[in-house]
């Protein structure tokens, strides 16, 4: 399988499938069922001739369809990388239910960023408005309805908002 230029491995949650995306001239998406991966790897290693070949391998109905397209061109990625990735993918799927039955316990959460200044509580996430609304949106002195809140923006001759000059 030297001829597959390996790109990424995806192991979706609650699935026993591993998708290996490779970019060849004819892009192939290689889909493996976890249970067959090792088998496939052995098979591929044994048949590593470096020559072009097209194979369509159909697996018995119970398992997912194994569809392998591989064509030649130049080998770019070493075998090792390919196998390493499949191994990682395998591990990932091993964590999922075997035999294709999805257990939906806790959904997989994205790891939270380390505690820092960007980490905020859910309740705080709503941005605080610096300026308070006027009652009925009417400015008490100028009686302007629907105007900008806070101090008068044009009081310094430019359009000032929160200390910054936006227009002048």
């Amino acid at each position: 399988m030297r001829n597959i230029r390996f790109c990424a491995s995806l192991a979706p949650p609650r699935s026993s499938r591993v998708y290996l995306v490779s970019l060849n001239d004819d892009a192939g998406i290689v889909i493996f069922n976890r249970q067959n991966i090792l088998e496939l790897c052995n098979f591929l290693l044994r048949h590593d001739t470096g020559k072009a070949h097209n194979r369509l391998v159909q697996h018995p109905r119970k398992m997912s369809l194994l569809h392998v397209c591989c064509t030649t061109v130049r080998g770019l990625v070493k075998k090792g990388l390919f196998l390493e990735s499949t191994y990682t993918a395998c591990l990932r799927t091993a964590g999922y239910a075997s035999g294709g039955v999805a257990k939906d316990k806790e959904p997989v959460k994205k790891a939270k960023t380390p505690q820092g200044r960007f980490d905020m509580d859910e309740t705080e996430s709503k941005s605080k408005d610096v300026f308070e609304r006027f009652p009925d949106d009417v400015h008490p002195e100028t009686k302007e309805k629907g105007g900008p809140r806070g101090p008068e923006p044009t009081r310094y001759g430019d359009w000032e908002r929160k200390g910054r000059c936006i227009d002048f």
């Binding site: 995306v21 970019l23 060849n24 001239d25 004819d26 892009a27 998406i29 061109v73 130049r74 770019l76 100028t142 009686k143 302007e144 309805k145 629907g146 105007g147 900008p148 809140r149 008068e152 923006p153 044009t154 009081r155 310094y156 001759g157 430019d158 359009w159 000032e160 908002r161 200390g163 910054r164 000059c165 936006i166 227009d167 002048f168």
Partner: protein, 582 residues
């Protein structure tokens, strides 16, 4: 999946060639992701320019480039008049830079006190430092109340007085009774988001009409033939196809070029594309040296601090902790006028007493740049048939040497509408288009092709091949678009620099230390009696027209006189020049 397929196909071919050969693929393989809206969906695909770049030809009555305030107003104004209009924009309409404007629109509605548009006219002429064309200013200020009322009828939620009329507030440079009656209240706002609201109102209104929007199409060049503008050629960023929009009328409303400066308040997309297109077509741009700066800005951050900070007790300190204004203006100190402060800061900067990290306020923020012009001069003004411009990229020279706050949004709507009206007067919808050479736009495509492959051709390392081949894809190649924008910025920049260097005076936003005074045909600080009028070549009350030769980068300058008469002398007398002081 499609993208992966496309990319891999590119990859495959690229591996084969190691020279800078463009990728060859059959046209039939590529699915073009556009659909033609509006009437007359007869877009034809041809390979008249090149087999590598299939070109889609569209025919319209009018094309508007840019969908900011001015572009939208022109586009739906034209649609309303019955023209089959296309609006080509590199951004979604509501993302244009107009959305950032917070201040309001000036109009002499007279809701707060008695007001007259002639006083607004006077203020604008004075604000432009007598470099503005008074006929254009007459037009704009006279139309202002009608324009604002029209916007309000479109649904723009202006803030209101108790009686329900539009609330107007005071803003810089507006006075009553020709400067003698104190501060005028003319600025109509929508809370603090006038530009945002304006753009959304115009966009919403434009959806009523069947303007065809071509969003995320980067306009490459004008299609000029025999000195006439016959349309625009654009690159679809989504799928990389080239489109030629043939139209009898082209309106440029592409905005300014703030991004030529490192520290600016403009959006990243303000790259002066329209100005550059016009320059490459061999037409001049006018008064590009007038760029507005603000003295109290934060270097690099691109935000400005209100000048009120000085009025409220803020002190300007250089890197040595010294209150440097005392040396330049011993009496006023930090409260000296803006240009004095700016000049002092420049000197401090030059002498090395600055510290950028320490919030040193720097005079380097651009606010609004100026202008292209559509008139071709041969000793006289002549019009380039088929080409119009409005908004920040268009220059009727309403702002002259200095743009007053709240006049720019007004400029957009008034002249956007004016473009539509002029086209409606001079043209009729459904007219047959004059023939265009089949390979029109070839040069633009060649240029784009050159840029696209400029970097990748010598790469042989196989790891990098992946990255660069991806970058050289024409689909969603934002790198390519950024490079095209950079080309445009450079054209704008070089014209600004050369024009500014040539103008040996200080007028409005153009201030020079070596030439501190305004140089007019007379010296207006003294009585005119007994003065000899300086010839045209010796004074500076004139517009600069700059041309660039795109191959050599050489800038040539010409000059054009300021229009000093208003549209109608009885309705509105022209304002003779005077010294500008507030």
């Amino acid at each position: 999946m499609a993208a992966v397929c496309a990319a891999s196909r590119v990859l495959g071919r690229k591996i084969v060639s190691s020279k800078a050969l463009p990728v060859v693929w059959q046209t039939s393989n590529r699915k073009l992701h556009f659909s033609v809206y509006g009437k007359g969906g007869d877009a034809k695909v041809s390979d008249a320019i090149s087999t590598q770049y299939p070109v889609v030809d569209h025919e319209f009555d009018a094309v508007v480039v840019g969908a900011g305030g001015a572009g939208l107003r022109a586009a739906f104004g034209l649609s309303e008049a019955g023209f089959n209009t296309a609006c080509v924009t590199k951004l979604f309409p509501t993302r244009s830079h107009t959305v950032a404007a917070q201040g309001g629109i000036n109009a002499a509605l007279g809701n707060m006190e008695e007001d007259d548009w002639r006083w607004h006219f006077y203020d604008t002429v004075k604000g432009s430092d007598w470099l503005g064309d008074q006929d254009a200013i007459h037009y704009m200020t006279e139309q202002a109340p009608a324009a604002v009322v029209e916007l309000e009828n479109f649904g723009m939620p202006f803030s209101r007085t108790e009686e329900g009329r539009i609330y107007q507030r005071a803003f810089g440079g507006q006075s009553l009774k020709f400067g003698k009656g104190g501060q005028a209240h003319r600025c109509c706002c929508v809370a603090d988001r006038t530009g945002h609201s304006l753009l959304h109102t115009l966009y919403g209104r434009s959806l009523r009409y069947d303007t065809s929007y071509f969003v995320e199409y980067f306009a490459l060049d004008l299609l000029m033939e025999d000195g006439e503008c016959k349309g625009v050629i654009a690159l679809c960023m989504e799928d990389g196809s080239i489109h030629r929009f043939r139209a009898k009328n082209t309106v440029i409303a592409t905005g300014g070029y703030g991004r030529t400066y490192f520290s600016c308040t403009s959006a990243h997309t303000s790259t002066g594309d329209g100005n550059a297109m016009v320059t490459r077509a061999g037409l001049p741009c006018q008064d590009l040296e007038f760029v507005q700066f603000h003295p109290t800005g934060i270097y690099g951050a691109g935000c400005l601090i209100t000048e009120g900070c000085r009025g409220e007790g803020g002190i300007l300190i250089n890197s040595e902790g010294e209150r440097f204004m005392e040396r330049y203006a011993p009496n006023a100190k930090d409260l000296a006028s803006r240009d004095v402060v700016s000049r002092s800061m420049t000197i401090e900067l030059r002498e090395g007493r600055y510290n950028i990290l320490n919030l040193y306020y720097n005079i380097n923020l651009l606010f609004c740049a100026q202008n292209t012009v559509i008139t071709h001069k041969d000793g006289e003004d002549t019009v380039v048939p088929g080409l119009y411009a409005c908004g920040e990229s268009g220059c009727a020279s309403v702002h002259g040497a200095n743009r007053l706050g709240a006049n720019s949004l007004l400029d957009l709507v008034v002249f956007g509408r004016a473009c539509a009206l002029t086209i409606a007067e001079t043209d009729t919808p459904g007219e047959k288009l004059s023939p265009l050479k089949p390979n029109a736009g070839e040069a633009s495509v060649a240029n784009m092709d050159k840029i696209r492959f400029a970097n990748g051709s010598t790469r042989t390392s196989e790891i990098r091949l992946n990255i660069y081949s991806f970058q050289q894809s024409i689909v969603w190649n934002t790198d390519l678009v950024e490079t095209l924008e950079l080309q445009n910025l450079m054209l704008n920049g070089v014209q600004t620099i050369v024009s500014a260097e040539a103008r040996t005076e200080s007028r409005g936003a153009h201030a020079r230390e070596d030439f501190k005074d305004r140089v007019d045909e007379y010296d207006y600080s003294k009585s005119l009696q007994g003065q000899v009028k300086k010839p045209f070549e010796q004074h500076w009350r004139k517009h600069t027209l700059s041309y660039v030769d795109p191959k050599t980068g050489k800038v040539t300058l010409e000059y054009r006189p300021v229009i000093d008469n208003s549209l109608n002398a009885e309705e509105c007398a022209a304002i003779p020049p005077a010294i500008r002081s507030y």
